[in-house]
């Protein structure tokens, strides 16, 4: 187990270094960093002095080493556009995105799994058929369209919910939350549903397919033949076996929710990292782009690590070395 985690950590470090290399290349070679920092009237001498001071004359490995060292401490330089440290900007924007993403993830899991289980157990019920038809909409309509349709219906026609922004936020230390005010919660509803819908239907269909597969296995049949009640078979035997493959997908999707919040944030003008990234792309604000890239990679790597550890918890077959099995 410890060896396994060690190995995975090592792989994670390699992945992060690769991403850092891409981010660094972006930073160093897309445009001239000096040009981006100084005004039109800076003299050549001042530029050269600045270049020397910033260490841009050092060799590539030295510069990359410095970039990694700074990045590891959360330091990505100064935003060209906002003239403020990128780390501050991210710390400011992160709570909005994380709150939205986590709520969407919880919604997707809490609704998707029970719906998947239900449609698998009552395959031919009318409610199952209704869920399956609805899920087609969730899978096939693009996120931005769903967002726009929701805005049209609840924001413009019914005027129940705000169409943009986070509403009022409360400051808890450095974390700003919209969950403590009515307007904050109201503002969260539509973006969260928009972001969750695709994942929810994906999870539901996945759980359903896996569960149907498990319900056909011999050990389920043997359970029934021993007189175990349906409740036991469905939830203690089948669901647990269903979760093994589902965990991987949910983990990856959780990363995707955070990374792809960009679209939802744009539609709802949600003041999160995704919106900031889109604006950074428009303004060629390289430090923000580099930082965002590294951060999303980190989130994916951490989630994958957690998924791997969860595998160990759920599936006993992985806990023992294969060589030790047998007799």
């Amino acid at each position: 187990m410890i060896g396994f985690i060690f190995k995975r950590l090592l792989q994670s470090v390699i992945v992060m270094l690769t991403v850092a290399l891409i981010a660094f290349a972006l930073f160093r070679y897309v445009g001239d960093p000096i040009n981006n920092m100084v005004g039109q009237d800076t003299t050549q001498e001042e530029r050269a002095a600045l270049k020397e001071r910033l260490g841009l004359n050092d060799s590539f490995p030295v510069q990359f080493g410095r970039f990694v060292k700074n990045a590891a401490q959360g330091e990505f330089g100064i935003s060209y556009q906002h003239r403020r440290p990128v780390s501050d900007l991210i710390a400011e924007r992160a709570p909005a995105t994380l709150e939205l993403s986590l709520l969407s993830a919880i919604l997707a899991i809490a609704v998707g799994i029970p719906m998947g289980v239900y449609t698998a157990i009552r395959r031919d019920g009318w409610l199952s058929r209704a869920f399956m038809s609805l899920s087609l909409i969730g899978i096939s309509l693009p996120t931005f369209l769903i967002g726009i349709l929701l805005i049209l219906l609840f924001g413009v026609i019914l005027r129940w919910l705000p169409t943009f922004g986070r509403g009022e936020v409360v400051q808890l230390g450095w974390w700003s939350t919209g969950l403590l005010t009515t307007s904050g919660i109201k503002a969260l509803i539509m973006p969260a549903i928009t972001l969750a819908l695709f994942q929810m239907t994906l999870i539901m269909r996945l759980v359903r397919a896996e569960m149907l597969e498990v319900l056909r296995t011999d050990f389920v049949k043997f359970g029934r033949a021993r007189g175990l009640p349906d409740r036991y078979i469905h939830f203690k035997t089948a669901l647990k076996n269903t979760m093994v493959p589902v965990i991987t997908i949910i983990g990856l999707q959780l990363g995707a929710i955070i990374a792809f919040a960009i679209i939802t944030e744009t539609v709802f003008q949600w003041p999160g990292m995704g919106l900031m990234f889109i604006q950074a792309v428009r303004e060629v604000d390289i430090p923000i782009m580099a930082a965002y890239l590294v951060m999303i990679a980190l989130i994916f790597v951490v989630i994958n690590l957690i998924v791997d550890i969860l595998y160990y918890v759920v599936d006993p077959r992985l806990r023992v070395d294969r060589a030790a099995t047998g007799h």
């Binding site: 050990f219 049949k221 029934r224 021993r226 007189g227 006993p316 070395d321 030790a324 099995t325």
Partner: protein
Amino acid sequence: MTLLTIDGMRVEFPSRRGHVTAVEDLTITVEPGEILGIVGESGAGKSTIGNAVIGLLEPPGEMTAGHIALHGERIDTLTDAQKRSVRGARIGMIFQDPLTSLDPLQTIETQLIDTIRENLGVSESDASGRAVALLDAVGIPDPAIRIKQYPHQFSGGMRQRVVIALALCGEPDLIIADEPTTALDVSVQAQILDLLKGLCRDRNVGMILITHDMGVIAETADRVAVMYRGRVVETGTTGQIINAPVHDYTRSLISAVPPPDRRLDRFPLVTYIEDAQERPEGLDLATHWLGQSRDYGAASEELLRIDNLHMRFVTRHSIFPSRRLFLDAVKDVSLSIKSGEVFGLVGESGSGKSTIARIVTGIYTPTSGSIRFAGTELTALKTRKEASPWRRQMQMIFQDPFSSLNSRMRVKDIIAEPIHFHNLADNAAEAQKIVTDLLDVVGLGAQAAGKFPHEFSGGQRQRISIARALATRPRFLICDEPTSALDVSIQAQVLNLLKDLQQELNLTMLFISHDLPVIRQMCDRVGVMRNGQLLEVSETETLFNDPRHDYTRHLLDLMPVFSGFGSDKN
């Protein structure tokens, strides 16, 4: 009082094209402590009986006539909830495959205790005590320790013991065992059958033993019902059925079982079994396509020679060499196969038989050792292109006819694939002609060409596999358990076909099987394997009559004693 009475039962599966009757007019009884064997081939409706009795027929199947009574009390008319209380508590069931019968994510303890509590309603500590006692009763050593383990920590035979313990949890009066030993090795099969017999005797439990294997019936059952196409064609005591069968089908079935005690030239033609097809008599190699370019020079005496072959798999990777774990699947094996000979490899699962086949065909690269085929060192051929002419000369037939054919390809394309790959035909029309010809040779007929594999039965699919293997005009054929997934009657046909082809084409064969009687019928010489080692090689008759190695003797002792009623007739 009679334990179980089934009277006039009919089970039907409604389908779009009318009802399919799986079981028709079935009447059987089981007494307490008695073992009733139900024997028949796949599709005979054996398993449907078991499912009907415990009320778990796969929908849309339903019982449309007759009744089932347990201790004189009808159980087929109960509500679903009442049926559930019968299952486990009064009727236990054992399934075929112990590897898939247990929930992989829960300990044996949880599965046992939950089942006991559900059926008997006792306290947790009481159930825990019973669980350990049950494991002890089914012969699991150190039950108190092993109960904490997960199913994957048990071997196949041990898992089947756990399955039996689980079936006994509710203290049932009747056990239905559906092919309980089919997935197990011979030595384990004998132990499990002994265990089942002992349990029935000691606990006065009645048992229905469903199997396709006459040997199992002969050793275990008190009475036998022979099923054919959903009907019981004959019932009687075991001795009566085996020694003096009345019905034609029973006779056919018994004559198709390969006798372990003598070698037959060909299996008797089973006229009652309808799958049998005639194939053209004898091939004239001088004119036939299969005979062309077979002039492999003067046939050297020795076609394949394996020296000091070693195959090591890493089972645990680690950056520290001392922490790596290895499995030596093949250890220092040397053997030689003469041209035109059928060489048998026999051994239990995990003995390394199939690994050798895979090394010879180039699927695995051996860790060390040499393989010489017709004088050429195969391990020295590094590129695919270099190896290709040799690979063409050796072909393989796999065990599972269902997964070894691409289900999305038509039969003609499946067979033509190796022809195109090795550029053996000038154009597509010629390839099609060869395919038609091959289908004739294996007795399927040209009309099979346009169909897909799922339209064929297991035996027919295995014929397709054989046709595909012959498509490159090989001189060396590797058969890896070619008939172990087939019914005995079909097995007899496929083995006859292989024998015919071997003689007509003068093929050299490596024939791998765990089934000693089959080996005896097919092979000229036999090698016995255990744990990756080749223990002994000798002429087939010598091996069976005068085994030298202790393990061979042990295997021969375990061989089912059933030798068929025909033994005194031939």
